[in-house]
């Protein structure tokens, strides 16, 4: 069923989330002659940007400055971001959010009609723009609706990308399955931008949607492009245990307590200040995300958490705030608990646990979104520029999607404008890919055989390995065990055969392919973590406590090798004006 059209475009964007749609508009505006397409495995408005709640950061008020935003971002990153990238980022952020305002985004407002901003973790000054508690939703729909006015932006909705077409040293398009028909299509493009989002689904408990399986990261990796800083995975301290749904920081900002199994506010035992009845900024429940998640793990080691069917948890108590305050200030928290966990926080404790939330690492790019492979670009959570370093600040990533989506769009447009012709080999490459898919996943077309492996079991074992070995605290031993487990799963994946042999909307096939992407991401996370013998930001090695700037003020680059573990190289961090210092909280 492989078809070589070919469908030819100048710029092809993989992903219809915040980054991808922003890139598409940037290309359309950069050069009116270019043929543009957006390809996405779900309809663009279903992309995971839709679930972001809190807001998007950019300097807009007179009491703020670009340098303050830069400094908060850099210190928050534990000095692992590239400062030149951060400077460009903070500089372009206000323009991008204003542009979105001009496209109609319903930002929340002050009484005088100006943009309203709120405070956010790690930001010293209020600079987070928000659209009530549905910021990502409104940003995504505004962008999607705006793209509709450009007839030149062609959409391939519900096409699943299986590989990049690389020939003659440059990326020249993708191969993708059209889900409704099962046709395998070659889609050629002079520039390809990967905006495929994060990879939270590599871990068992996550705020990330089902579609966040690191596809683009793995696609680039397989094409020889390194993944950067993959050991840095952000946990959010308060997710609902079963669903992983996020309970926003606001619940604690309003005065919620975190309680262990004895009803004790355990954070006081972890150098996070003294318990006061009312919330105190940068102390106790309002400490930073990484420190709170780490305290949970320690409490668990002491046997002080509560065991549940979905692993250990603690209680978030907001009962004492009273029904009125809860309804007025944090209605969405109550709604989520009622609708998704069947509990009412006015009367009951909310069970919470740290859950995987965001991937700081990603496809290695420069500040224009270009990867080392000619013709290939990346932006958004899939990419690592890097402005997030070892720990991203909440509300920087939506802005990152806009700033670097637009930049990648411009760079990709410029590249495509050279009008290079396509290689003759593309058809053969596409046919090979079609055969690979048939052989790997559909060869056993009569259904399951006795020895075949189930993708469900492999996925569960991957989750276990990542949780055990590459969680909030890691050691050389735990990481090595997980590395072995993942290698074994890679082998076993070759023996899967799927029960669904249909060409029409075969989601068992796409799940199997997503699993293979996730295993590639998993091996890069583990190997990068194993080689970084220090603790920095979200990467905590119990056997190497403390930051080591002499050896590790560098980015990790994980390269795929033929049969072996990934090879890890290093790249120095760019420092412009802010020499590394200490990250202090609560004192």
């Amino acid at each position: 069923m492989t078809r070589y059209g070919p469908d030819e475009h100048d710029v092809l964007i993989v992903g219809g989330g915040g980054a991808g749609l922003r890139a598409a508009i940037a290309v359309a505006e950069a050069n009116p002659k270019l043929k543009i397409a957006v390809i996405s495995k779900v309809y663009p408005m279903r992309s995971h940007t839709v679930s972001a709640e809190g807001g998007s950061a950019a300097v807009i008020k007179s009491n703020d400055s670009l340098d303050e935003h830069a400094y908060d971002t850099i210190s928050g990153s534990d000095w692992l971001c590239d400062q030149n990238a951060v400077e460009e980022f903070v500089n372009e952020a206000p323009k991008e959010l204003l542009q979105l305002e001009h496209w109609g985004c319903p930002w929340s407002r002050e009484p005088d009609g100006s943009i309203s901003v709120r405070s956010f973790g790690g930001m010293k000054i209020k600079r987070t723009w928000y659209a009530a508690d549905k910021t990502g939703f409104h940003m995504l729909h505004t962008l999607f609706q705006t793209t509709m006015k450009y007839d030149r932006i062609h959409r391939y909705d519900e096409y699943f990308v299986t590989s990049l077409m690389v020939d003659d040293g440059r990326c020249q398009g993708v191969v993708a399955i059209e889900l409704t028909t099962g046709k395998i299509n070659a889609i050629a493009a002079r520039s390809v931008i990967l905006c495929t989002g994060g990879c939270g689904r590599v871990f068992p408990y996550t705020t990330n949607a089902n579609i966040k399986s690191g596809d683009g990261m793995a696609l680039a990796y397989r094409a020889g492009v390194p993944m950067k800083d993959m050991e840095f995975v952000q946990y959010h301290p308060t997710g609902l245990p079963f669903t992983g749904i996020l309970i926003t920081e606001a619940a604690r900002a309003e005065g919620g307590y975190l309680l262990n199994k004895d009803g004790y506010r355990y954070l006081q035992d972890y150098d996070l200040g003294k318990p006061e009845p009312k919330p105190v900024l940068r102390s106790m429940e309002l400490g930073p995300r990484d420190r709170l998640s780490q305290a949970f793990e320690k409490e668990h080691e002491k046997g002080q958490t509560i065991e549940g069917p979905f692993g250990p948890f603690v209680h978030l108590d907001i009962k004492h705030l009273g029904e009125d305050v809860i309804n007025e200030k944090i209605p969405f928290v109550r709604e989520l608990c009622l609708k998704y966990e069947n509990i009412d926080p006015v009367k009951e404790y909310i069970p919470v646990r740290p859950v995987v939330h965001y991937m700081m690492g990603g496809i290695h790019t420069d500040i224009h979104g270009a990867t080392p492979l000619e013709g290939l670009y990346a932006a958004g959570e899939a990419a690592c520029v890097s402005i997030n370093g070892a720990n991203r600040l909440g509300s920087n990533s939506l802005t990152e999607c806009l700033v670097f989506g637009a930049r990648a769009g411009k760079a990709a447009a410029e590249n495509a404008s050279q009008g290079k012709s396509f290689s003759r080999n593309l058809e053969a490459i596409a046919m090979d890919e079609g055969r690979r898919i048939e052989k790997a996943y559909l060869s056993n077309r009569s259904g399951k055989t006795k020895n075949s492996e189930s993708i469900v079991t492999i996925r569960e074992e991957m989750h276990q390995a990542m949780k055990d070995g590459a969680g909030i605290f890691r050691t050389e031993k735990s990481l090595k065990e997980s590395q072995n487990a993942i290698q074994e799963l890679q082998d076993r994946l070759l023996r899967t055969s799927i029960g669904d042999t249909s060409y029409t909307f075969n989601t068992e096939l796409t799940s199997a392919m997503e699993l293979s992407y996730m295993l590639d991401v998993a091996e890069a996370v583990i190997q990068s973590a194993l080689k970084r013998d220090e603790s920095r930001g979200s990467h905590q090695r119990s056997d190497h406590p403390g930051r080591d700037d002499d050896k590790f003020l560098v980015h990790s680059l994980a390269y795929k090798t033929e049969k072996d573990l990934p090879r890890i190289d290093y790249l120095p961090v760019t420092i412009t004006r802010w020499p590394p210092g200490e990250r202090i909280y609560g004192r």
């Binding site: 779900v42 309809y43 408005m45 279903r46 992309s47 995971h48 839709v50 679930s51 323009k95 204003l98 542009q99 305002e101 001009h102 496209w103 109609g104 319903p106 930002w107 929340s108 407002r109 002050e110 009484p111 005088d112 009609g113 100006s114 943009i115 549905k134 939703f137 409104h138 729909h141 609706q145 705006t146 509709m148 006015k149 909705d157 409704t180 949607a209 089902n210 579609i211 079963f242 669903t243 749904i245 989520l336 609708k339 998704y340 966990e341 069947n342 469900v456 799927i498 029960g499 669904d500 249909s502 060409y503 029409t504 909307f505 075969n506 989601t507 068992e508």
Partner: protein, 247 residues
């Protein structure tokens, strides 16, 4: 209650030309929503069962289905509500089915696009001049209509959509109104032309079911009603004062 039966309306175009019901028993859990039960089937019983989902938090709009003949988001509908069962699950009504519970969305998006759901301004204000001022009250004018997650439940609840597949439909009108009532927008004239044609808002007989099933309280029925009022005035203006209507 140990287990509950799901009767799922399946459609496998490569095997059978007609849809058929298939029964699945799933263990009952208090925490489970319908979507969890479907995921259980997919992972442990029958990997060929096909449906869409993603966020599992009621915001991506993927997981709408008919549950006991009502259109709902399956990620926020508890199994418990339907005990003791059996629970009937079918694809969203009035949409063409691709496979099992997956329906064709392109038609719907075409209707959304017809409503020109983007900001149309007479004069372009450069970004360097800062934001358009919009007071909280002005925001409130259209905010409700901006909450639509494109889940399409309202189309499955609408008897007119059932009778006239060309009817532009509740969500598309709500989206048009979302921009019409935005203080920054000048595009209502352009949208009027589309919404007042044969398949536009005058097809609606104000049954109101769309607003009942909408999971985000968008109130598309109210949006249509509001349009009929202003629409009549606009139509009158376009006849009497044609130069005023194409703004």
């Amino acid at each position: 209650m140990e287990s509950v039966t799901l009767q799922v309306l399946r459609y496998l175009p490569e095997e059978k030309s007609e849809p058929f019901y298939q029964d699945y028993d799933v263990p009952f859990q208090k925490k489970w929503v319908i979507l969890d039960a479907l995921n259980y089937i997919k992972d442990h019983v029958d990997g060929t069962l096909t449906y869409r989902w993603s966020c599992r938090m009621g915001v991506c709009g993927s997981c709408g289905m008919m549950v006991n003949d009502q259109p709902v988001l399956t990620c926020e509908t508890f199994l418990e509500t339907y005990l003791p069962g059996p629970i009937r699950i079918a694809p969203l009504s009035y949409f063409a089915v691709i496979r099992d519970l997956v329906v064709n969305t392109d038609d719907f998006l075409g209707k959304v696009k017809r409503a020109k759901p983007w900001l149309i301004t007479d004069e372009l204000k450069p970004v360097t001049e800062g934001e358009y001022r919009q007071t909280p009250d002005e925001l409130k004018e259209y905010k409700q209509y901006s909450m639509c997650i494109n889940c399409m439940l309202c189309y499955s609840a609408c008897p007119i959509v059932g009778l006239d597949p060309e009817f532009v439909g509740p969500a598309a009108v709500a989206l048009a109104q979302r921009y019409n009532y935005d203080s920054r927008d000048d595009g209502h004239g352009q949208r009027n032309k589309i919404l007042m044609d044969d398949d536009g808002i005058y097809s609606c007989t104000l049954v109101g079911e769309c607003s009942v099933v909408c999971p985000k309280a968008v109130d598309p029925a109210g949006a249509i009603q509001r349009y009929k009022v202003t629409g009549a005035v606009e139509w009158w203006k376009s006849v009497v004062m044609p130069w005023k209507s194409d703004k």
